[in-house]
Amino acid sequence: MSAKNHKQWKIPAFEQGDYVDSRIYSDQNIFDEEQDKIFKQVWIPVCHESELPEAYDFRTTSIAKEPIIVVRGKDNEVRAFLNVCPHRGMRIERRTAGSFSDGQPSGNPKHMTCMFHAWQFDMKGNCVDIPRAKEGYQDRLTKENVGLRRLRCEVRFGGFVWVTLNDKVEQDLEAWADGAFECIRSAIDTEPLEVFHYHKAIIDSNYKLWHDTNSEFYHDYMHYHNRVTGFNDEYFARTNKGFKNGHVNVNSFTVQYGEFELGESREDLSFPGFPPNQWYMIDLFPGMNFNLRGSALRCDIVTPLGPNKVMIEFRGLGLKSDSQKDRKTRIEHHNSIWGPFGRNLHEDLLGITGQGASMQTGSEPRRILHGRHENNLIHDEIGMRHFYDEWSKWMGRNPSDPMDEQRKVLAAE
């Protein structure tokens, strides 16, 4: 049988788990549920500590539409709060990054000030001033009653700042990651890292399609660069390893950077204790990726904006101690592949854009195949299957049958 009608097309001889229903990428209700059941519950990396190097530096971000501010106190501690004023709900800080050392038109130095009615807060989130409090609130409300909403926050795994909206989060970050970072631990935790690259993309596609791309290497066929620098016995011997909580990592091989016309070996520049020209990949549930490749660390953070819209933030990192020359080399290596004008990233983004075009809300449900089995080797799609096993637990939905239709039909028979 060649071309198929819709019913035939939906049924390859695959077990559930070897495919997902395309509606998990396009349904508005599923998207809304994911925000509540997953993104508001788990640890999310929101920025890197080098983006707020000095006391009183801040960075604003968001998780599941909740605005967040990360600040460094004068005690050097990094803390996170909802970026929301307890008075009438104004967003307190509007800039994306900066410092509170200097005053603002309606605020004193070294304070976070809501510009609306000038309530002021210190770097620990305490409210330290309410203009004319006594006159308006008498003794019914004082500044002691109204601090900022503090969020659980940890700086970990190479200096990333992780935040959760979940006050009752059961696992600390170390337990949550379940050892997925151990393969690059000494490389990223021996000495401080520093961000040198940031850019973002907003794509009409589902966030999980980006994470899927980061979780499968079969698409290396799309990248000329990866075909010529990889695709040798060592590459095909790489394995995927699953961890608790839906995380996966992929072990390394020696990339033949010299095989690429514009490439050069990267053996002179690496990370502490990290052999040259290696490439490890860590995919963290529910959509974060850490990619240590030769001389640069890349991190992708997804912010889902709708069933068919995602923002992806891309960061590149080197060592804080880098000489100017080494830093320039790291930047070149990073951006020649992963920058907005780099060889691979553009192709990866074209891939999920095309998937997004075919999986818009209301489109005919399809089966998206995750069924390559190859002893967990590099082109085995175990990474995606492992992710969706976890997704299923948080969502209470079967990704192969998210609307419970197949189960009902079987039960009726």
Binding site: A97, M222, L262, S336, F341, G342, H346
Partner: protein
């Protein structure tokens, strides 16, 4: 001297505009002919998020040649980029051997495929805005590019591109 200055200014302006046409049309070889062997090309932007200057791409003339020859092997968007440029200033060095030019730049994308070619093709979108900060080597009344920094204002580049800006 004023006639000389005017001639150099005209030569520099001509190179900037020609470079736009050649890049628009994908005439990479012609573009490289406007460049001295010492040419350095870069794309830079300042990130307000990480409060750092960033270098998105950096190549010498030889690498630019390799990069542009490689384009047919890479998967890319089919939508061509088109420049609108205005040369704001041309300044000639005191020794008369170098010049710099600042050019305001808008790059549009004429959609051939986009998200779904059936719907998007034919549309023109703003791809980015920025400036060309160019340096030239002058000999007599002719000029060659020795440095081009594409200084981007736009930092949300979404799908990005394999092409030179």
């Amino acid at each position: 001297m004023n006639a000389m200055k005017a001639a150099i200014t005209a030569a520099v302006t001509d190179i900037v505009y020609r470079s736009c046409l050649y890049l628009d049309n994908g005439n990479w070889g012609e573009f490289l002919n406007l460049c001295d062997d010492s040419m350095i090309y870069s794309i830079k932007a300042y990130s307000v998020e990480i409060r750092r200057d960033m270098e998105y791409l950096s190549h010498n003339k030889k690498e630019l040649g390799t990069l542009t020859e490689m384009l047919p092997k890479l998967n890319s968007d089919h939508s061509p980029l088109r420049r609108h440029a205005s040369v704001y200033t041309v300044d000639i060095g005191e020794d008369g051997e170098t010049a710099t030019a600042v050019t305001s730049l808008a790059v549009y994308q004429n959609m051939h495929d986009g998200i779904n070619s059936h719907i998007d093709s034919g549309e023109t979108r703003l791809f980015l805005v920025g400036k060309y900060l160019d340096k030239f080597k002058i000999s007599g009344e002719s000029a060659l590019l020795i440095e081009r920094e594409v200084r981007l204002d736009t930092r949300r580049l979404d799908k990005g591109t394999h092409h030179l800006i």
